[in-house]
Amino acid sequence: MHRRAGFASIGLFAALLALVLTALAPVALASGEASPSPSASFQAPQGTPVVLGVIPDPSGARTKWSGDQININLNLNGADLDPAASILTVDGEEIVLSTPASMIELSPGNPTLLMKWNEPVFAEGDFMFDVALFDTNGQPLQVYDERDGKTADTYSWEFKSEGEATGGSLINTEVMRKWFWYIAAGAIVTVELTVISIVLACIFALLGSLGRLSKKMTFKQAWDRYQSKEYMFRMVLGRIPYWVATFYTSLFRGTPLLLQIIVIYQGVPEFIKAFGLPDTYNPPAFWSGVAALSLNYGAYLTEVFRAGIQAVPKGQNEAAWAIGLSGWQTQRRVVLPQAFKIVIPAVGNDFIALIKDTSLVSVITVEELLRRAQLAGASSLNNFSTLLVAAAFYWALTIFFSFWQAKLETRMARDKAREKEKGKK
């Protein structure tokens, strides 16, 4: 029973992995398509006064447009369109701008912008409109048209709409299939985040637990014992690791992980700028996420490791000291190897939990499973379908790693039983 479940999970994961690997190439293509709100800007030859571009894609390659707005990108040689100096018209109607802007949104739901479009714009059919610019004297300004590379008084744009697109039924297998590889690539990022973070978390936890356990006696006890200022001074220095570790676990266990992720991503650049370093620095989102996840899980694992170290019988320390091992040798050779065995189940548990907590770093634009599912959902207009795909990936990952965790634990138990049997004979 157990074995069959194991094989199933291995098979499932192997299949996922293979799919993901083969999908890596198409991903680049898919991600270009994924941008939910594409915009284009048109570069003009030097010296042309006004450049104007329009999206949706004027090439007409994408006719099934379901966005609820059209963006007109203006490039006035680096400056915004100043409503006091020039007037923009679409199909002869003036677009009233209250502030300078470089992008004008024409929305069918906002008839004050475009009176004539007070019904759904992109019903099935052909559309065309002209965009023109005038100066305050009513004289037309030259408009650059990228399509033919010419400048003219007006910019005409037409496209054929196949009608309003929708995401289809609630669970749309076509959408799922289409976006599967794109989301699968996010699963790789999720696994990377999890593995790197848990390794770093274990390192933080090891240091943290040793710090937490470095307190041997209180200052009062030490003073009563030695009555020595020099000893107390050294004791204060020796207490620093304890204070640091206590502060660390208290802080990271006392604040939400989501907040930590955002603060590390947004706060670090501010911090760097505050020290006069280049203010162009932008933290890589992935590593900010790794930092937050590993620090947070390290804080929790600190307590796990501390308990594990304390679960090693005191007699083990004493036996090691009695044969002359130093404090560090005792930890390294005697206590920690035994403590690691004790904490393996707990670390496995946190590993499983971490797989799912990595989804939080989607808020800082790391394109892991959830983020990719959201992007795909926005593009395909069917969030539910793409999120279901992501859920399946999370579940598969969890089953897979739980299986290995269980296997590791039963193996440890079996080793123990076998040793006992061998000892009996």
Partner: protein
């Protein structure tokens, strides 16, 4: 200065002074556990500490290699001298030196469960003494053969019986070439049929001239092997002398009372031979260090055991609450150490 190259001190038989303890005191918080202990042990001597629970035997033993940090006093072992209650680098170095000169065997064995028998034994020599691995393994194998575990050198502790574990522990301690072996109730955690094998190893060690301090209630072992038996109570050495003196002619009332307690009802003849079984009524518990009065007149001709009220004058504290009952150790007539012994008779 003189610390590193002390002048050796010899006793009248020309034996070198190995252990010198002066006015050793130990507090656990406000609890005064050792109240000023002096001890000299010469090379090859076997000293057995007996006494009720909470009398400070184990604490004293653990103070000798600083598993407990003694509050005040002087400890000199194998030429290394430490003033207790100090601190700092020199203190740490001296403590380390003393630990290397002492081998210690624990009641609960404390073998490293993640290492096999050989690794347990080689750990100290390789890490602390920097011995070559091959040489250390060679020596470990020799030691394990010596303690009768030649067949089980690659077994893990979980695969060994209690007696075998304790013998590995003895080999582990011996691997550091100690000048002094400390045994903290080495047979108390063992099943009765396994005690003999451990005692035999200890006896072999003693016959090879190893200096030993043993906390044990194995009276047969003490009688056969010990050069000196020390009765300890309430943090003092109450009475010490050769086993024939302490066991057969105890001077202090508390010694008598203790010996009477640990004698089982089943062996009245031997108890009578020891001359302490005619006790019936409670003896007055004197305070303070040895009184030395002979209260044998008060003994009544009755072998009944007197319920234990707790060690005379000893406050029960958190450290000894767990084992307030004195282990009931049978005292048998059989000679010790001849192998093989029939089961049940191995322990003396």
């Amino acid at each position: 200065m003189a610390k590193s190259t002390p002048t050796p001190v010899y006793d009248d038989q020309g034996r070198e002074l190995i252990v010198k303890v002066e006015n050793l005191q130990k507090y656990f918080g406000r609890n005064h556990v050792l109240k000023g202990i002096d001890l000299e042990v010469f090379k090859g001597e076997v000293v057995v500490l007996i006494g009720p629970s909470g009398s400070g035997k184990s604490t004293f033993l653990r103070c000798l290699n600083f598993l407990e940090d003694p509050t005040t006093g002087e400890i000199g072992i194998g030429g290394v001298h430490v003033t207790c209650g100090s601190h700092g680098g020199t203190f740490k170095k001296d403590v380390h030196q003393i630990r290397m000169k002492c081998g210690m065997v624990f009641q609960e064995f404390n073998l490293f469960p993640h290492m096999d028998a050989t690794e347990n034994v080689t750990e100290g020599p390789i890490l602390v003494k920097g011995e070559k691995k091959a040489a250390a393994i060679e020596k470990a194998h020799e030691l394990l053969r010596k303690v009768g575990l030649g067949e089980r050198m690659d077994f893990f502790p979980s695969q060994l019986s209690g007696g075998q574990k304790q013998r590995v522990a003895i080999a582990r301690a011996m691997a550091m070439d100690p000048v002094l072996m400390l045994f903290d109730e080495p047979t108390s955690a063992l099943d009765p049929e396994l005690i003999g094998e451990v005692l035999k190893v200890m006896k072999d060690l003693a016959s090879q001239g190893m200096t030993m301090i043993v906390v044990s209630h194995e009276m047969g072992f003490s009688r056969d092997v010990a050069d000196r038996v020390v009765y300890m109570d309430d943090g003092y050495f109450i009475e010490q002398g050769p086993p024939s003196e302490v066991f057969f002619h105890p001077k202090d009332d508390r010694t008598k009372r203790f010996l009477r307690h640990i004698l089982p009802e089943k062996e009245p003849e031997h108890a009578k031979e020891l001359g302490i079984l005619e006790v019936d009524q409670e003896l007055p518990a004197p305070d303070g260090p040895p009184a030395g009065s002979d209260a044998s007149d008060d003994l009544a001709p009755d072998g009944r055991r007197v319920p234990l009220q707790g060690p005379a004058g000893a406050a029960l504290n958190e450290d000894n609450l767990a084992d307030t009952a004195i282990p009931e150790v049978p005292l048998s007539n059989g000679p010790m150490g001849e192998t093989p012994l029939p089961p049940g008779d191995e322990r003396l």
